[in-house]
Subunit: 696 residues, 2 copies
Amino acid sequence: MPTHIVKESKVDVLIIGAGPAGHMAATWFARTGVNARIIDKRSASQFVGQADGLQSRTLEIFQSFGFADRAIKESNHMLEICFWQPGEDASKGIERSGRIPDSTIGLSRFQQAVIHQGRVEGWMRDSWRKWSDNSLVLERPVQATELVIDTSIPASDIESYPVTVTVEHLKDEQAVAEQFGSKVSNGLFRQFGGDGDKNAKGETEIIHAKYVVGTDGAHSWVRRNLGISMVGESTDYIWGVLDGIPVTDFPDIRCRCAIHSAEHGSIMVIPREHNMIRLYIQLQKTPQASDSSSGRIDRSKITPELILENANKILFPYTIDMVDIKWFTAYQIGQRVATEFQKNGRVFLAGDATHTHSPKAGQGMNISMADTYNLAWKIAHIVKGVADPAILDTYESERKTIAQNLIDFDAKLSKLFSGRPAVPGIETPGVDLAEFHKVFEKGNEFASGTTVDYDGSILIDKATNELTETKRRYDEDNITTNPLATNCPIGRRLDTAQVVVQSDSKPVELADVCLSDGRWRVLYFAGDIKSNASLKNFMVKFGEYLEASDNFVKKYTPATASLYSVIDILLVHASSRTACEWNDFPSAFRPRDHKGRMDYLKIYADDTSYHQGHGHAYKKYGIDTSFGALLVVRPDGYLAKVEPLNQDGINSIEEFFAKFMIPQKVSLSNHEPIILEREEKEWYGSESYARRIFLE
Amino acid sequence: MPTHIVKESKVDVLIIGAGPAGHMAATWFARTGVNARIIDKRSASQFVGQADGLQSRTLEIFQSFGFADRAIKESNHMLEICFWQPGEDASKGIERSGRIPDSTIGLSRFQQAVIHQGRVEGWMRDSWRKWSDNSLVLERPVQATELVIDTSIPASDIESYPVTVTVEHLKDEQAVAEQFGSKVSNGLFRQFGGDGDKNAKGETEIIHAKYVVGTDGAHSWVRRNLGISMVGESTDYIWGVLDGIPVTDFPDIRCRCAIHSAEHGSIMVIPREHNMIRLYIQLQKTPQASDSSSGRIDRSKITPELILENANKILFPYTIDMVDIKWFTAYQIGQRVATEFQKNGRVFLAGDATHTHSPKAGQGMNISMADTYNLAWKIAHIVKGVADPAILDTYESERKTIAQNLIDFDAKLSKLFSGRPAVPGIETPGVDLAEFHKVFEKGNEFASGTTVDYDGSILIDKATNELTETKRRYDEDNITTNPLATNCPIGRRLDTAQVVVQSDSKPVELADVCLSDGRWRVLYFAGDIKSNASLKNFMVKFGEYLEASDNFVKKYTPATASLYSVIDILLVHASSRTACEWNDFPSAFRPRDHKGRMDYLKIYADDTSYHQGHGHAYKKYGIDTSFGALLVVRPDGYLAKVEPLNQDGINSIEEFFAKFMIPQKVSLSNHEPIILEREEKEWYGSESYARRIFLE
C-alpha cells in the first residue's frame, strides 16, 4: 500500500527561491502570461532587515511594471551623501569634509530610495496577482530535493519538458528561519538547514518544467546541484549592521554618510523609512585578524551594544544611542561570481546564487532583480513561440559581465572605505580620502544601474567587444552610438523623455508608454514632418509599409494576437502638435481593432505641454529634427539598434528581427484576432494589445 | 412578548448617506480619530455612470489625505478643451474654432481628471480602513426612519447626545436601486423608494448622536425631515448622457469638446478612463417644450439610439457610433440651493442635499466633497474638546456662498451652452460663441475649486463682506491680502510651493507636509536668517517663546497629546541650506519626544534641490526674504491670518486662537504624553504627532 502519494505536474517555468530575483522573474512571467510557478522553502516573508536600497534603474523597472509609485510613496528618498573625516586636530574628532548628491544628477528621473526588502517583494506579489488573475501564488514552504535535466532534448524543442524537479511540500514549522541577531550563521535571512534533504517529510510532487530559474540565494541549492562553483576574492569582510531609531546630536543623520574616524574605523549611515537609520560598520578587515582557525570569526561576540559602542567612538565628538532596535546582524561575505549562469539552456541561475559581495553599495537586491529582468522576457518569448531559443545565450553574456563589474566595484570601494585614513598625526600610510570621494562619486553612476551597457549580440546590434579587463571596468566609458541619435548609447537602457500625446495633449514620459509588457518597440522619430517634405513622404511610405501584409511587424505576430502586440510602433514627431491634424496621420499610426475602436496613443509630439513645460526629447536623444531616426528597443528597454528613415533602415530592421524571431504561419490580416471575454469587458485600448498575445 | 428587538447605541457623529460627501466626511473623521458611523440605505456601490470629474482642488484634498496618486494613476487627465461650431458655410457642418487648456495654467499643481464616482468612493473607503484600523465600515443597507433633536441641550454641551436617529437594518434585496437607463425616474442613482418608511422590515436601532451629517442626496430624507426647502430656478434642463467607447472619425474625441451645431443643438464630449467617452446632450431647453402636463417630459423616450442620432447630427460632417455602451441616462435637474445648511448646530446638510444643478461643469461631486471637507474637521475639533462649538457657524456661512456661486455659474453656462449659436445664415438671434468661450474659460477658474474665497469670520481673520450679489459672483476678484505675503489671499487655500528639507535635502511640496491631519499650522517664513541679524534674533526669540510653558501652541494642547499635535509650527528659511548648520537652529524647531527621538521635518529651506530645481517659495507667496511672515493655516488648508515677525505678530496670533480654542487644563510640559502601543510599534516621527491627539 502506498503511504506516500506522489503528484506529478507540468509547468512552463519553475522558479526556485523567492527573494527579490525570484520575485522579479515571477513578475515578468505574470505580466507576459507565462505559465509559471514559484516555490520557496521558507515559510515566511522578510519582515525586518536585509537589503534596503532601490537604485534608479530599479525604480525605472518598477515604473515599467506600474508600481514605482508605491516605492516612491513608501520609501525614504536618499538624496545627499555627506563625507566626514578627522579634522586638522584629530583629537577633536570628525568633521564634515564634503557633500555630494547621492544619485548622480541627470542619470535618471528616479533617485535612490531605501526601504526594506519585504515591502519590495510585497509590491511584486501584488503585481503578479493582478496580472495573473490571482493564479500565480508563492508556494511555500516547498523544498526542491532533486533536479534532473534530460540533455537528449534539444534546445529547439519547446514543446517538451526536459527538466524534472522533485519537491516536498513542507509543514510550516519545518521551515522557520531565524531573522534576527548573531545566531544567524551567515547574517543573511538564509535558507534554513536541510537543503536538498531527500528525507524531508511532506507531500512529494514531481514537476516537469521547460525551464527552471534558480534564485535561491548565496547558498543556492540549484547551483550546487548543477555543480557550478563561485570564484573570486577569498577575503571575507565582516560587517555589523544595525537598524533602529537614533537618539543623536549628529547633524547629518538623515543623510547617507560615509564616516572615517582617525583610529576607530569607518561607518556608513543609511537614513531609512519610518525615521529609522541603518548603520554599517566594518568590524574586521581580513579573516586573518580573527582568532578562529577556520578563518571565520565568532559572530556571537557581535552584539548591538558592540556596534553602538564602535559607532560612538567613530562619531566622536557626537554621540548616538538607539531606541527601537529593529534588526541587527553581522555579514561575512566574500566577493565571488559563479563560473556559469546556466546549464543546457534550460536551468538558469540569478541573483545571489551568482554573485556575492558586501552590502554597503546597496547593490545586491538591485543587481539580483536586474538579472531576472534580463532573463524572464527572453524565456517568455521562447515559451510563446515568437523567438528562437538562441536568444537565451545572451543572458549569461550580458549578466556575467555586470556581476564581475559589481565585484570589482565592491572590492575597490570596500578597501577604500575600510582603510584607515591618511591624516595628519597618523604615521602609517592611509587611505587617500580624496580618492575615496572620487571613487564613491564615480561608483554612484555604476550603482545607479542606468549605465549598464550590454555588448553586441544577436539582440544588440553593435560591434562585439572582447570581454577584457578594460571593458569590464565599471568606470570605463566605452559607449557605441549612431550619429542619428548621438545621446542614445546602443546596448544601454533608452532613457525617457517627456513628449505630448497628439490626441489629447497630455505630457507623458516615453518610458511610460513603453512599459514592460513583453513587446519590442520601434520608436519612429519622424522629425519635423510639417516643414520637411521628405520626412512627410517617408511617413506616408512607412505607413504604407506597415499596412502591407508582409512587414517586420506582421511577420512575427501570431494570428491569435492583435496588431502591434509583438512589435509596437510609436511615432514621435518634432512639429507643433496643434499644426498637425489627427486625420492627416497615416492610418497605420491610428490603428483600429476589429470593432473599429481606435488606438489614440501611438502618436506623440516633441512639443510644449500646457502645465509641465517642454520635454525637448529630440535634443535629449541627440536626434536631428531634419533627419529623425528609427530606434529599436528591446522588451526590457535596452536600445538594440538605430536606423535611418529610409528603405535601408527598414531593410536593416527586417534583417535584425529575422535573426531570432520566428515567422508566424498565418498573417494577422487574414484573421480576426481572438478576443477574450475578459478583454472585451475591460477594454483598455493599446493596453489590451499588449496583453492579448500572452493570453491566448 | 417582544417580536422586534430594538438596539440602542451612542456615537459622536452619524453620517446618513454614503455618496461622495458622506465618504469625505467619514474620511476626515477616520483621519482625526472621531468616533463616527456612516450608513446608507442602498445595498451596493456605484459601478457605472454618475459623476466623473475631479477638479484641481479636489485632487489637492486627496493628496492631503494621501491618495491623490491613485486618482492620478487611474483617471483620465483632461487637459485640453476644443471648441467646435458651424463654419462659414454652415451646410458643411462644424469646424474647430479654438483650443484652450482645460485647467487654467498656474492655479494648481493638479489638473482636472475624470473617473467614475465608484472608484473615488473606493479610495476614500480604503483611506478610512487605514486610519480607523478597520473599525469604520460603511453600514448598508441601513435606512433612517426617524430623526429627533433635543433642543433643550445647549450647543456648549459636548458630552450629551441630543440627536436621536432611528434606523432599520435592511436585507439586501430591500435596497436595490436601478442604475442604468431611462427607467430611473430622475436619472440619478437615487435612493430607492420607501424613504423614511417606518414600516421597513429589519432590525431596528436607536442611535444617539452628538452630531448628524445628512449627505443623502438631492432628495435628502434628512433635509425633508428637518423641514428645509430648496429654492432657485424653476427651469429644469434635461440632459441625455451616454458612456461608451466610440467609433468615430471626429479628431478631438480624446479632448473635452464643447460643440455647437447650427441647428441640432449642442454636445459636450468628456474623454474618460479606459478609452471611454461621455457625451452630454441637452435634449430640451425648457420643460414647456414637453408635452407632459406636469412640466416633466417622458424620459422613457430617451434611448441611447436617440442620443447617438442627435450626436451624429451635431457632429456632421463627422460620424460617431458606440460600442460597449457602459451607461446612459437622462437628467432633469433644477438649479436650487437649500435655505438652511444646518439645524440647531447639531444636524448638518451637505452635498446634493444642499445644491442641485446640471452636471456638465463637472462640479457636483467636487463641491459636495468640499462641503464635508469644510465641515468635518470643525466637528472633530469640538468632539475632541479643543475648540468651541461656535466655529460650526462658519460651515453655512462659508459653504452656502459657494453653493450659490455654483448655481449662478451653472445657470450662465447652461444658457450659453444650450442656446442656438449666432452664425451667418441663421436669422434668429443666437448665442455669441465668443462670449461662450470667455465664460467657459473664466468659469474654469471657478470650477477648479482653487479660487474659493471664504469670508471674514471667527476662523478667517479679515474684514467681513456683506453677502451681496457682487461678492457672490463666481468671477469676481475680491481678494484680501497682507503686504507681507502679497500672493496669498486670506480666506483662500494656501497654494503649495517646493522647498527642501533642511535635514536631508529632499525637495518637498509644502502642502505635502501640511496634510489633512486635523492640525492648525503656523508657517514661519523666517526669511534670510544667515544674512539678516534681526531675522536671526527673532528666530531665537520665537524659539524661546515656543519653549516656554505659556504660548499659543501649548495652551491648547491636551496633556495626553504630543507637542505640535494641535498647532504645528514649520520653519521655512530663505538662506542657503548648506550654509545653515542643523544644530544652530533653536531646539523648538528640532523637537524631541519623551524618548529623545527627534523630528527632522520641521525646518525647510527655500533653496535649490539636487534633482528638481528651485521652488522659489518666497517669490511664489510674495514674501520678502528680508521681512518674512507668519502664516496661520486652518486644518483644511485655508489661510486664516498673516502676521509680521515680531511680538505684535505673536500677540495677534494668540488673540486669534483665544477666540475659539479651548485652553487645556494641564500643560504638556508637566506631563509625559500618552503613547499608544501601536504608535510605539510604528513610529513615524512627525506623522505620529499628528495622530496622537486623536488616538487618546
